[in-house]
Symmetry: C2
Subunit: 444 residues, 2 copies
């Protein structure tokens, strides 16, 4: 019944019933993920994957965000989802740690270049895809990720299938088959995190979901209960899954309204730490050689995830409090450049990194932290952050998301003018042809 | 160490070290799976999937077995693996119930049409791919399948990646990346069995493995321990996996030598039952209306898997002892036709099916069974089978595999002359160009 109920919900949903706040959040999510895809467009993982797929991909119908080449919509979904998530700088669904947009938005945009659809239709399908993806994530959390499943990929394939099924106008049974064909492809292991193989799972979730829906449209049938059946997704990849929550309040509360956007390209636990460092720096910028030591104090998860004094690559540095503090103090910012392999190896960063230590302190949520800088002369600078930028209680403004977009475009595609694309994305709900909007992301 | 050791094993292996019996078994496996792919080439799942992929597939470089269209090697691997396994009439690795050849041989043949390789190179890579696939299956069995993983798909992707990595000549590190990129794509749920969605998982395992190796060749890096790492395949998808067995006796004992080939297109537990029915029928063929009842007696698994009196589709009938007995008695054979939707609904089969009952009896292995037919006049006919045709102790002969190939070709591709292809496959180890061999399977 769960698989059918979710299928019926997606099929029956109407754009006119989407609240204005939800429509707006969908646009914020889309702007954010297209921005991170621009930023990731020239990364080695993106280039090598696009290069591997290109000889097999026709017709050249869909834009690779921030790049010159075009691939077919399946492969473009793969590469753009990969690029959107490659730095883990995309959005975060609290509770599940799913990055919701990367597996769902790219297949929709790629498919829009094959089969024209309005921006409103795309946003509506996006909202529904994220709803299915994140409800499945809720049902299997926290077991699923802890066990070793890369939840963005494993749940993302269902979101992509539901979203594409919606724009295809599948009926209830074919929507169910789309979820079944997605269940046969649900994959992604946490062991691959920190390597390019992570992105293979994320790319495949987007491509696999799109394919799942196309197969269903063409009559490739799935089981009656791909999700809740005894050998289906929830039982096999969950442990005592929360089945009731899957269909509770469908159409009344929306998972996308809980979405958050990262201000910094690193683990979310580091957000309040970087906020505190940048605030202290603004108050009084002291050269690193005058600093005796920096203590970072916070929630136990901060230490568990990010107490990492020795790092050698940008990817590792994304989960190093020591690196984040040092580079933010020296550079006065914490953008993609600050987490590059080069910056990780820089002598000045290395020197300051050695002075940073991480400690637990009672009274902090995961969104809060305290940073205490002791100078050589004995002075102590101290700053507490309660709710980090980008957290549920302190969300990025639209303007900040736009600024993040521009910065990422500049990083991934130097010379690209991001304004026409950015403007079109903020007005996506009015666009008659979503495919023409994403075509503006071509570059090179 | 396990992932590296297996990678090194594949990289270092030499064709000259492959024993003659192993080379011959590889050819038997290949003949068998190309035969089942011919048989499955016109099935709806095959047609609909090929039709879905065709608009996105270029160049037209690789044969779809038993069909006219050509797709790129990635998509051909998908469709041919699907077709080879769609009836579950392909090979079976005892202990794991993996169908070893479908995920591994099709990507090799498809890739051979893109990048020429000798038949010996293909067979060598096939042997190694099956070795990785089945050793992984051993390590996670029996938990893995029981939990709900479709083991052919989940392990097949590694076999395909290793095999393609071998023909690409990857070095040890890139072979390791290939396994890592495969780990990010390992998927397939038992809930999908009995539906076309099962085949989506199997097709994806072949395609995903081929892609994993191509990505590795192009520098898409994976983790150091994709298999044995704490969040890797063995720990996440296994339970207390047998790690020692993974590398024990590598290059000395070969999993492929344990491979078995089905004489009938149905669950393996039914093999001895059908053998017994056909033997009794040969002794004295009694018209169904003179039969009062048929008792099938065997191992507990027979009842668990195949005591299914009411069936409505061919796919269900593949695991129904009642159907198998009835149709074998009436038709005098048990081929693909006997497990078609039409035959399942036929009145004569239905009538006799109602007289068949399944019972447990001590002393039978899963390869054995007894069938007892009581006639209306009170006469009792009785036959015991110890080792069914196709079991480890009673393997199909080369001639029987050839005959199965011809029958399947006739079923899936009426009018196709199977002899040139069959002859070329039996001499595959001498072929300078394996791609030209598989090209002989085009039809229509």
């Amino acid at each position: 019944m769960i698989s059918r109920s979710l299928s019926r919900f997606v099929v029956d949903s109407q754009w006119r019933d989407m609240p204005e706040a939800l429509r707006h959040e969908a646009k914020r999510s889309v702007v954010n993920v297209i921005g991170t895809a621009l930023g990731g467009s020239s990364d080695a993982a993106t280039r090598r994957t696009a290069g591997t797929l290109a000889p097999f991909s026709a017709p050249a119908e869909a834009t690779i965000i921030g790049r010159r080449e075009q691939l077919n919509c399946l492969d473009a979904a793969f590469v753009n989802a990969l690029a959107g998530n490659v730095f883990d700088f995309d959005d975060t669904h609290p509770g599940t740690i799913i990055h919701p947009s990367a597996p769902v938005a790219p297949p929709l945009f790629a498919f829009a270049q094959r089969r024209p659809m309005s921006g409103a239709d795309l946003l509506h399908a996006f909202i529904l895809g994220v709803e299915i993806e994140c409800r499945l994530g809720n049902a299997v959390s926290p077991f699923h990720y802890k066990k070793g499943w890369h939840i963005t990929a494993t749940c993302g394939v269902f979101g992509a299938a539901a979203a594409i099924g919606k724009v295809l106008g599948l009926d209830e049974t074919r929507m169910l088959w789309a979820l079944g064909n997605a269940s046969a492809q649900s994959c992604g292991l946490v062991e691959t995190l920190g390597t390019m193989a992570k992105s293979v799972g994320v790319g495949q979730s987007a491509r696999g979901g799109l394919l799942a829906a196309l197969l269903a449209q063409n009559g490739v049938e799935g089981p009656e209960r791909p999700l809740e059946g005894p050998r289906g997704f929830l039982q096999v990849m969950g442990s005592d899954p929360d089945l009731a929550g899957l269909t509770e309040g469908l159409g009344e509360r929306w998972e996308l309204l809980r979405n958050t956007y990262k201000p910094y390209p690193c683990g979310v636990v580091l957000n309040p730490v970087i906020d505190a460092v940048l605030s202290l720096r603004e108050q009084s910028h002291v050269p690193p050689e005058r600093i005796a030591g920096i203590r970072v104090l916070g929630h136990p998860l901060l230490g568990e995830r990010a107490d990492r004094p020795a790092v050698t690559t940008g990817r590792e540095a994304q989960v190093s409090a020591q690196h984040a503090v040092a580079v933010a103090w020296i550079d006065g910012r914490a953008g993609v450049t600050q987490f590059s392999d080069e910056r990780v190896k820089a002598q000045d960063v290395l020197a300051l990194r050695g002075k940073v230590s991480v400690h637990q302190e009672a009274g902090h949520s995961v969104d809060g932290a305290r940073v205490e800088i002791t100078l050589v002369d004995g002075t102590v600078l101290d700053h507490v952050v309660k709710a980090a930028r980008g957290s549920t209680d302190n969300p990025l403004s639209d303007a900040e998301i736009s600024e993040k977009f521009r910065t990422l475009a500049g990083y991934g595609c130097p010379g690209f003018d991001p304004e026409p694309l950015l403007d079109a994305l903020w007005r996506l709900d009015e666009a008659p042809d979503a495919g023409r909007v994403i075509a503006l992301s071509a570059f090179g």
